[in-house]
Amino acid sequence: ISTLILAEHESGSIKPQTVSTVVAANHLGESSSVSLLLAGSGSSLQEAASQAASCHPSVSEVLVADSYRFEYPLAEPWAKLVDFVRQQRDYSHILASSSSFGKNILPRVAALLDVSPVTDVVKILGSNEFIRPIYAGNALCRVRYTGAGPCVLTIRTTSFPVTPITESKKATISQIDLSKFKEDAVSRSRYVGQSTQDTERPDLGSARVVITGGRALKSVENFKMIEKLAEKLGGAVGATRAAVDAGYVPNDLQVGQTGKIVAPELYMAFGVSGAIQHLAGIKDSKVIVAVNKDADAPIFQVADYGLVGDLFEVIPELLEKLPEKK
């Protein structure tokens, strides 16, 4: 088994979801070799590559594709790159995390290879058998890949937590020779820009505590109470689709079937009714707390601790009485 992982990196360091994907690759079988493919351009790429080389002891090789063509994560050149690398070295598996990045690029790679990819793998049962959720996580589907080409997977990273690494090992770093990398004559897609929310808070996908608000918060102003509580607990802020649609918070805070999947130690939902699409995104949380005025809200069926009450009274009381974060 030899695995190629399409890595994600940002400002000179490898993203945690890529390390989780490495953990997942280790479940594919004994004696598997793991190569990380990093693409981008310039010094931050080389910095990330050097960090990637020691991000996990099972990484045996870091491949670096340094070119202006990979300055932005456009699916067209990146999918071609994965195919290009695969033609030079044989891989049995090609993986990426189930992030918006991985989900955009890997199916395109799979089509180029004429194989069916498996999206959102939550459990690996062997080199070609996997479990993935369907119907917003209301059923689990066990699939077997029977194709001849490489097996292409995107990994739901909350299902493959990274344990602290004690062993230090440095993988070899090789630069990919791109002189034979052919691209379509003219690039037919262009990156225009990105609006990111600068925030000091931890990342929603990997936070230890997540505090979520629903439409019941009623306004952008009121939603700040959720942010305050998150701050107090050192947690990330999440939102339901309704709260995002109402414009209280930006889209990247949406938790659920089509938003972020979270699995924190503590998940607290305020004014969240618990639509199945939302519950799909929080099921793997260790402890779920729900506060809602409506005692019949479906969220109470999955909550470990429920409190029927008005969030406008409960949140201030929590802010006052909760201990400061450790």
Binding site: L74, A75, E76, S100, K103, N104, P107, R108, V109, A110, A111, D114, V115, S116, T119, D120, I134, Y135, N138, A139, C141, R142, Y145, T146, G147, G149, D184, R188, S189, R190, Y191, V192, Q194, T196, Q197, G205, P250, D252, Q257, L266, Q277, K283, K286, V287, I288, F300, Q301, V302, A303, D304, Y305, G306, L307, V308, V314, E317, L318, K321, L322, P323
Partner: protein, 252 residues
């Protein structure tokens, strides 16, 4: 310009699904079926582009058993000009669906193909990316805003919902766009339009017509119910909640 929109018939989003006792799949007998919500958004966007004068025709395509004609009628009632029904079994993988759509695109020559970013049954989120790859077209997935620029420029500017916020791309046409939830609010079909839709043409096609290889490289071993969370407790006050979180769950 012509726009091709793929629409999938799925179990209605409000239905609580049941896993079959023999673990072969999810029960779809006597269950309300509807157009996949993401596909509705895709169709709505195509219609708006046509209404804005950037497209001449919107063609809805559905692939599956005979009941897919109902889904196509819904699409025609919303405003699509005609439908194409490719008769097939439900068990096709996204790769096969992508090949069918590619083969249709070769015949129809659309300037844009719209698809929902994922279907709410298999949650695969693959087909759009795969059609784009097979056609060698650019892709703009998870769109929350689409602007088709002037006809001479032949390009579209698309805002995409990504993990870190919003990303803006410009893609040359022809291109594939997959739609996210916030792109638009799909219209309801009015009664007169539902009546009118009955006379709009739906062309039937078979896999033989399209010469698509339908080999399958994924087997479904079993479908099971996810483990249930044990039911929790209702606490009566904030103090009790804090106490439980501190001394029972040890999370604060």
């Amino acid at each position: 310009m012509k726009i091709l929109v793929a629409v999938k018939r799925v179990v209605d989003y409000a239905v609580k699904i049941r896993v079959k006792p023999d673990k072969t799949g999810v029960d779809t007998q006597n269950v309300k079926m509807s157009m996949n919500p993401f596909c509705e958004i895709a169709l709505e966007e195509a219609l708006r582009i046509k209404e804005a004068g950037f497209a001449k025709e919107v063609v809805a395509v559905s692939i599956g058993p005979s009941q897919c004609v109902d889904t196509l009628r819904t699409g025609l009632a919303m405003g699509a000009d005609r439908g194409i029904h490719v008769e097939a079994s439900y068990s096709f993988l996204p790769l096969t669906i992508a090949k069918i759509l590619k083969s249709l695109a070769d015949v129809e020559n659309p300037g844009l193909i719209f698809l929902g970013k994922q279907a709410i049954d298999d949650d695969c989120n693959q087909t759009g990316q795969m059609v784009a790859a097979l056609l060698g077209w650019p892709q703009a997935t998870f769109a929350s805003k689409v602007v088709v620029l002037d006809k001479d420029k032949q390009s579209a500017t698309v805002d995409r919902e990504v993990d870190g916020g919003l990303e803006t791309l410009s893609v040359d046409l022809p291109a594939v766009i997959t739609t996210d939830l916030r792109l638009n609010q799909p219209r309801y079909a009015t009664l007169p339009n539902i009546m009118k839709a009955k006379s709009k043409p739906i062309k039937k096609m078979t896999l033989e017509d399209l010469k698509v290889d339908t080999k399958s490289d994924i087997e479904i071993v079993e479908v099971t119910e996810p483990p249930k969370r044990k039911s929790g407790v209702i606490v009566s006050s904030v103090d009790e909640l804090i106490d439980k979180l501190k001394n029972e769950a040890h999370v604060v």
